[in-house]
């Protein structure tokens, strides 16, 4: 079963690599307008852009070579894991991604952990608690937060914490204070969904025969939850965590742009605006790989939590 997981995920890695390299190449040649001029505009700004400087860019990047030759070069470089150089800054893409990835990683991890810190106790509490009012308010708040797009949530948080109370900076990345608002934006959205799911999952487990049988054996409510509840409730949650990784990757793109946070999402948006193709390629590759990697971890986790999976043929997400 482990082998099956690895084969499936390895297949995805290859797909991601092929996809991002072909996207890059396709873009080079399908984009409307003149690629060398676009790159020059990105590098030197409209003020510095002339047809003549674009020509020297064309020569520099060998954009005058025939298509197939360029394609072979690009594939060859990709195979060498050489992601090339940013068309805008001229720095190596790997170098740029390294820095940005660190920031995004910390941000995403913080958001993820904080969201679980909020959601797990809240979710379990609402599933056990008998106070209807509390449960309903938690549910209502979750629904409301879920209906607010992350960027609006980000703006609301900026207005509250940076403007009214003036206690947290609205942008930047140097101090720990800069991490608070982006983290909060991401984790509130995550927590609103996961706390609901945890409640549902816990509620489900409590209706299962084996949970009830645990009680009938004479185990107390708490021990039954500990021994038969939490682990089983976690199983459906695990695959949900993979879904959250998608939300995180997407959220990071939006949140970083709003908070001027120098992560990989911010880089991607800028690369797209400037059509910095190697950067787009590299970012997409890295994000895709992270996505596959998270899924791999989730698969393995699920396999360890749920012994039944070892028996069944491994099939799917």
């Amino acid at each position: 079963m482990f082998i099956n997981i690895f084969i499936k995920r390895f297949f995805q890695v290859i797909v991601v690599a092929l996809l991002s390299s072909s996207i890059g190449f396709l873009m080079m040649h399908l984009l409307p307008g003149d690629i060398a001029m676009r790159i020059a505009a990105g590098r030197y700004g409209p003020d510095g852009l002339t047809a003549e400087i674009a020509q020297s860019v064309r020569m520099e990047l060998q954009l005058n070579k025939p298509l197939y030759e360029q394609y072979l070069i690009s594939i060859f470089n990709f195979l060498k894991l050489d992601l090339g150089y940013s068309l805008v800054s001229g720095n190596s893409v790997i170098q740029e991604l390294k820095v940005q990835l660190g920031y995004s990683f910390v941000l995403a991890l913080l958001a993820f952990i904080v969201s679980l810190i909020i959601a797990i106790p809240l979710g379990i509490f609402t599933s056990i608690s008998k106070y209807k009012f509390v449960n309903n308010s938690v549910m209502l708040i979750s629904i409301i937060i879920r209906a607010i797009p992350p960027f609006v949530l980000a703006l609301i948080l900026i207005l509250i914490f940076s403007i009214w109370f003036n206690i947290l900076p609205p942008a930047g990345f140097e101090s720990w204070k800069n991490f608070v608002l982006p983290t909060l934006t991401l984790c509130l959205g995550l927590a609103a969904v996961s706390n609901r799911l945890i409640t549902d999952s816990m509620n489900d487990v409590q209706t299962y025969s084996y949970f009830r049988y645990g009680r009938f054996k004479g185990l107390s409510q708490n021990i039954t939850i500990k021994r038969h509840g939490i682990k089983n409730a976690l199983i459906p949650l695990i695959s949900f965590l993979a879904l959250q990784s998608v939300y995180l990757i997407e959220g990071v793109v939006v949140v970083e742009t709003i908070f001027a946070f120098p992560g990989i999402g911010h880089a991607l948006v800028h690369a797209i605006v400037a059509r910095d193709i190697p950067m787009i390629q590299g970012t997409v590759l890295i994000m895709g790989l992270i996505f596959v990697f998270i899924n791999l971890i989730v698969d393995i986790l699920a396999l360890n939590l749920d012994p039944r999976l070892k028996e069944k043929k491994y099939n799917g997400k």
Binding site: G33, D34, M37, R38, A40, A41, G42, R43, Y44, G45, P46, D47, G48, L49, T50, A51, E52, I53, A54, S56, S86, V88, S89, G90, N91, E96, K98, V99, L101, G102, Y103, F105, V106, I158, S162, I163, N166, P169, P170, A171, G172, F173, E174, S175, W176, K177, F179, I258, F259, A260, P262, H270, R275
Partner: protein
């Protein structure tokens, strides 16, 4: 690895509070690499590296890393005497050879402002830089104030590329996180007079709103390029100073003078008359004085001609001109000639956020006289491409005349013999060509005024508004001087109010 570093960073900064002489500057421009040809303007403004010459508010060229210069009798050889005892931030000493090394790099030759000059050779002789030209250029020193000709230490280069940014300026880089952050300390061995700023942080913040928020919340000390939309709320804040300075940049309609419709001079003027520049200036730029009456703003004294007929808003005249050219208004409110609608395509680009907005205003205003304008917002490179393959009709662009502190360089490039990517298209005027040629060799005020006149009469492109930049600073920052040429932020002049 990186994460560890980051955590450490977080920790360190959480314990650091802003000391009195720490300055945080935010601006819209991202650091796109270390090459002066790409991001030199940021390093120049932050005074990390310096040019051979500098410019004062009036556009006069002053000594900087070069203390004096002279030309040979035939005006083809220029000698610049390099300032002695200037140290780079890596403790190497500035000499003429280093300057030559900087100015003869492949990247500089090909992509810096120098590529416009008829340079034969750059060489050194003891403490002198020698530039040999193949034809006369009276304004050569102005080119050396441009950010693409910043002088760096020889240790900055590896294989002709910049790998470390080491200049002679009053601030020394301690940390760069591309594309968003530069941190610098005061360089105490700077050759100039001492200054108060000890630590400097530059944050590139792309969104205007965020810049406004940061300056408002006290998270930044100086915010450059605050857009007019944010001013109203900033003005109310008692902790902030707001300075607005005219810069030498004009927003104009670049047009194809050979276009089927636009080759008719009447149409050009009709368009010009149909545009209410006051409304644009007041409504969008929040400053009526920015409505352009001619190409150059009054602050550009040597070029602004007070005696020519200003460009104005006059619907009647516009309609009359259109009628004279045979365009008749039909029931749908648009003009037709021989069954063909008066339809034009305008392209513009979002690098300056106000351009697409102004484009829609122009669209609205031209509709009043019956011209159907289609707008397409695309990449700035499309202007150049469409210029090149001759498919352009109209483009709304924003053009800086003082990339070289003397506007002549840009004017020659834009309105000279062959027109320019960001200037005239399929337009040529004999008088203009000869005027520019004589100016290139020798400055003359009368000729400069004449050029303004020709531009207003012929309208190779239609000026809409002039520009200004707004800088907002915290009240504790004193003596902040805004450079209309945007070469320097003049950080060394700053005093802290304690």
């Amino acid at each position: 690895m990186n994460i560890k570093k980051l955590m450490k960073l977080c920790l360190i900064f959480s314990f650091l509070t802003l000391s009195a002489n720490e300055l945080k500057v935010i601006g819209p421009n991202e650091i796109k690499g270390l090459e002066p040809t790409k991001s030199g303007y940021i390093f120049s403004r932050l005074q990390i590296a310096e040019n051979l010459v500098k410019v004062n508010d009036k556009g006069e060229i002053l000594s900087n890393l070069a203390i004096s210069w002279e030309t040979s009798a035939d005006e083809l050889t220029w000698k610049f005497k390099i300032r002695p005892n200037v140290k780079f931030q890596d403790d190497t000493v500035l000499d003429a050879q280093t300057v030559v090394l900087n100015l003869t790099r492949e990247e500089v030759k090909e992509k810096s402002i120098l590529r416009y000059l008829p340079i034969e050779k750059i060489d050194s002789n003891n403490d002198e830089l020698i530039i040999k030209l193949s034809s006369k250029v009276s304004i050569l020193p102005a080119y050396l104030a441009h950010y693409t000709t910043l002088i760096l230490s020889k240790n900055s280069f590896e294989n002709g590329k910049v790998v470390k940014f080491i200049g002679t300026g009053p601030f020394k880089i301690t940390n760069i996180t591309e594309p968003l952050l530069i941190k610098a300390d005061r360089f105490d061995s700077w050759w100039g007079k001492t200054n108060e700023v000890e630590k400097l942080t530059y944050n590139a913040v792309g969104s205007n709103e965020t810049r406004a928020l940061m300056i408002k919340s006290g998270d930044a000390d100086i915010a450059f390029s605050i857009l007019p939309i944010s001013l109203k709320s900033l003005e109310k804040n008692p902790n902030l100073d707001i300075q607005t300075v005219k810069i030498f940049r004009t927003r104009k309609l670049k047009l194809n003078s050979e276009d089927e419709i636009l080759k008719d001079k009447n149409i050009k003027h009709a368009i010009s008359y149909a545009i209410n520049r006051d409304a644009i200036a007041k409504g969008i730029l929040k400053d009526e004085s920015l409505a352009a009456t001619q190409m150059f703003p009054p602050e550009l004294v040597a070029w602004h001609n007070k005696n020519i007929e200003p460009l104005t808003f006059n619907i009647k005249k516009s309609e009359k001109l259109l009628k004279n050219s045979g365009w008749e208004k039909q029931d749908d409110g648009f003009l037709y000639k021989n069954g063909k609608k008066l339809e034009l395509e305008l392209i513009t680009y979002p690098n300056w956020p106000e351009l697409p907005i102004i484009a829609t205003v122009v669209q609205n205003q031209l509709k009043q006289v019956g011209i159907d304008l289609k707008i397409s917002v695309t990449n700035s490179s499309e202007v150049v491409r469409k210029h090149k393959d001759n498919s352009l009709q109209l483009a709304l662009i924003s053009k800086n005349f003082t990339l070289v502190p003397n506007p002549l360089g840009t004017i020659i490039e834009d309105y000279g013999e062959n027109g320019g990517d960001w200037g005239a298209m399929n337009w040529k005027n004999g008088k203009m060509v000869s005027d520019l040629k004589s100016l290139y060799e020798k400055a003359n005020l009368e000729t400069q005024f004449e050029i303004s006149k020709i531009l207003n009469e012929e309208l190779p492109s239609i000026p809409l508004t002039w520009s200004s930049i707004t800088v907002v600073s915290n009240k504790k920052i004193k003596n902040l001087k805004i450079d209309p040429f945007e070469i320097s932020y003049n950080l060394t002049d700053i005093k802290f109010d304690k």
